[in-house]
Symmetry: C2
Subunit: 239 residues, 2 copies
DNA sequence: GAGTGGTCTAGACCACGAG
DNA sequence: TCGTGGTCTAGACCACTCA
């Protein structure tokens, strides 16, 4: 038996997809919707929370619920053969960057395989598509590999590590989870929107970790793509 | 200013991590907890929903809220050089498999790059670690490449496509989202637990798609790992 | 200041699980 | 049957946005 929440969410979804509510438009107020569907406000709000989690609407405190513009899905291309790239359409990306010096501790020391309290440089990036943020990255580099000038003007900061000793291996670990409070505010997403969390560790030919990056990608507007081409030898080498 | 929900969630989290509530144990009833924290039941329940989303507790309708056993994190190894594997510890995995014949339509036809209504074989797998499900896969193969005998006894069914014309390329696309209703029941997870959704397309040397797989991995117990080794040529070929 | 969403209350009633 | 969680109500009060 479908709950009222689901019934209402289905109906609103349908009205959005058929264009009865158009992109960018404000929905009727929650009080109006509640009386239209003859439910209490908490019930109506729980229905809206579903749509919000699907990225269909955006809630703006004090001004209303808005139908979101159909989202440009952005693809993070993994594999590290080249610098990771964002493939997008039409809208240009820009990045804000902030570099900080700090010392490795517990988790970070393990990732970078350095002793605790080793000097690191952290680069904190937020990527924007137009005005809305679309990804968040924390990149850690041993300080002696960090760019000499503290100014890191653009996303190329990410690539700097690749110009140093040649990379031998890139490991990328992905998981899905709900965002932390910090990510909610930085990416301006809802607490109920899943994010793709990506940890990338790059190693040079000597086995030294030259970069560790923690990326967070909102699930409604980003995905990650890995392409593996198989050589003949690889194919036959396995059983 | 922290909401009561967050305050309560923090306190319960702390009590679980310090062992005040132990793994497998039942929490006090929601009514008891609500009066202990002097909040109404909806408020208390919203705090429990947070913990549930983090995979710390498991709600069992009619019997109570239970502290979950610390979860074995399972890693899906991507890249397709070998058959995808699950690295786990201690607990053996087993798989239930169900094969069905069907016709490609819209989305599936596009993925497999075949005309609509082409004959396909769908293999529907649920992987279990002990008694609890840990992943869900739908694997689609053009019917003429499907195993001749309809019995597909174990996960090797997944590998069959690899014995046919040699694979040339594997593409894996990952995204994070909340689970569908079907996934909630099949994986016995909560609606608020993010899942990692993985679409894998394998192509042979002629460019024909020999397999498309849709995998769903619960975010609290699985992640995906991609390792790229870079050849010298690849490194220098890029700018 | 008027209108919006955000949080919370103190219940009611239903559905499920175990004895 | 009884205790559990699941859903829902009809409000109250606060915080935010915008004119």
């Amino acid at each position: 038996m479908p709950s009222r929440r689901d019934t209402i969410a289905d109906d609103l979804r349908h009205q959005i997809s058929t264009g009865h509510f158009k992109a960018g438009e404000r929905l009727p107020s929650e009080a109006q919707l509640a009386s239209r569907y003859a439910v209490s406000t908490p019930t109506l709000r729980s229905a809206l929370a579903l749509l919000q989690g699907e990225g269909l609407i955006e809630k703006l405190h004090g001004s209303g619920n808005f139908v979101r513009h159909p989202l440009h899905r952005i693809t993070y291309t993994g594999g590290g053969g080249e610098a990771p790239t964002w493939s997008t359409r039409s809208t240009p990306l820009h990045v804000t960057v902030r570099a900080t010096n700090l010392e490795a501790h517990d988790h970070l020391a393990g990732l970078l395989n350095v002793p605790p309290r080793s000097p690191l440089t952290e680069v904190f990036c937020i990527t924007y598509e137009g005005k809305s943020p679309h990804s968040l990255a924390r990149i850690y580099v041993p300080r002696d590999l960090a760019p000499a000038d503290s100014s890191v003007p653009d996303e190329r900061g990410i690539r700097l590590a690749e110009l140093r000793p040649p990379l031998a291996e890139v490991q990328e670990r992905l998981s899905a989870r709900l965002p932390t409070q910090e990510e909610v505010t930085a990416l301006r997403i809802s607490t109920s929107l899943a994010v793709l969390s990506l940890t990338r560790v790059a190693t040079d030919a000597t086995g030294r970790v030259v970069e560790a990056a923690l990326l967070v990608l909102p699930g409604d507007r980003a995905d990650a793509l890995f392409t593996t081409r198989l050589m003949a030898e690889e194919r036959s080498s396995k059983e």
